[in-house]
């Protein structure tokens, strides 16, 4: 570490605080004394509850991150977004069909996309958000589902989009359509489930349950590893 400062200054609600430099935004705010009753969930970068906007002192650039993942930097002005006021349309997935225009029908504002790419730059998951919005415009449901698979629905793309599109909700509809109508059913899974139901593995499981810890260990060490 040497001469590196062990604390940094961050601004929460415009007020300056000295916090340890190694903390995430979320932990730094708790260090200051904030208690999260909203805008915090898994604390592991998976749930998307802690969407946060920040700007560094002296920079015009508005940045986006998950508070539980982003480590504080000196001069950060922080605003948490505990709830994204984003439009979410109501539909009955059983009554929809995966037609080229269905996404446009429920989210017509996607046609306002100018390809500015602000959404992509806001995404804490590094998804190609603009690319999937564009795929949504041309009705490529499978591509939207593929490109948005790792979306956490944190809402930051929607908060930054100048065309007021709600990319993550469009993507959710696309993934639902994909799963229901386009994804291939996995026959081997159905076969295996049937085998389980018919009790094919009952006897072996029973045998394993009766083994001692040592016997299990030995069995584990000798297991066949197929690559």
């Amino acid at each position: 570490m040497g001469e590196e400062r062990s604390t940094v200054t961050i601004y929460v609600m415009g007020k300056a605080y000295e916090v340890p430099a190694s903390l995430t935004i979320m932990k730094a705010m708790e260090y200051i004394g904030y208690r999260f009753v909203r805008g915090a969930g898994c604390r592991a970068g998976f749930c998307g509850a802690c969407a946060t906007l920040y700007r560094k002192k002296g920079s015009y650039k508005l940045e986006a991150a998950l508070a539980c993942q982003k480590v504080v930097e000196d001069g950060m002005y922080i605003a948490t977004i505990p709830f994204a006021p984003a439009e979410k349309r109501t539909y009955d997935i059983n009554k929809l069909r995966p037609t080229p225009n269905v996404l446009l029908e429920y989210y017509p504002e996607i046609a306002r996309c100018l390809s500015c790419n602000t959404c992509t730059k806001a995404c804490p998951q590094d998804l190609q958000v603009m690319d999937y919005v564009q795929a949504a415009i041309r009705g490529d449901i499978e591509e939207v589902a593929r490109l948005s698979f790792d979306c956490l629905s944190c809402g930051l793309c929607a908060m930054r989009c100048p065309a007021e599109i709600v990319p993550y909700n469009v993507a959710q509809l696309a993934r639902r359509l994909y799963a229901k109508y386009l994804a291939k059913t996995s026959e081997h899974l159905m076969r295996r489930l049937k085998e389980i139901e018919e009790g094919k593995f009952d006897e072996e499981l029973k045998r394993l349950k009766g083994l001692s810890r040592e016997e299990l260990k030995e069995l584990y060490d000798k297991r066949e590893i197929r690559v």
């Binding site: 100018l114 390809s115 500015c116 190609q128 564009q134 041309r138």
Partner: protein, 297 residues
Amino acid sequence: MRFAYYPGCTLKTTARNYEDSALASARALGMELLELPRWNCCGTVHALAKDDVMHYLAPIRVLVRVEDMNREGILEGNYRLVTLCAMCYNTLKRANGVVKEDPDRMRKLHDIMEREQPYEGKVEVLHLLELLREMGFEKVAERVERPLRGLRVAPYYGCLLLRPRGFGIDNPDSPRVMEDLIRALGGEVVEFPYRARCCGSYHTVERKDIVAEAAYKILSQAREMGAEIVALACPLCSFNLSERQDEVEREFPGFRKIPVVYFTQLMALAFGLGEDVCGLDQNHVDPRPLLRSKSLI
């Protein structure tokens, strides 16, 4: 020969027959059209305002992807981008022309696109018809297996392939590229004065009557000059001149429907690539009875 290829949104949905027949025909001529691995909408309509920057983002981004293909080694020093949709062609080509001439606008675009790969201005936007002309129509003729003998075809250009001057693929007053192609395919060309008249474009959404009237004038004149079928290169023109024939029939008694196809469908047919590739079942006014009567399918 490999080329970067930009399909555009419509070719992936309602104009599949255009794309399928074009890609197959190009392949038959030894051209491989490689779809851009990433692409967005072309921007649809060229922005005319001098201070407009935002509407240039979409087309410029598409051009950056062509340079990306070269950077990634998919293409080697080939910056030519082939288009099919007349609207995509027009929007991409004009945006490309504007930013190359206007460093100020280019700089503003790069400011907005910050942290991204800037556009180096290397791309040349082409329409497939230009590539065919460059290759030579005698070469195209050599590939013909089933000449369109006895088929009287009226080529229709509409606006966006020809105008404005300097951006069009041919002389806007007397174009001949599609005429030359049809002759090379063994068909009979029917020239008609309305071949470069506007189809009514986006009026089709709110003012069907305007489009119906335009379609009536264009198509009945083609018919009068002896055409049996119309060939074109734009999905929107195709919609207005095909689907809107239902309205034309209602509003103009005596109007006789006429099939409208993409020039690439005729090309695939003449190359003997099979009916499936042509997607003739997707054309609103069925061209198959006519083509059957000429023993072309």
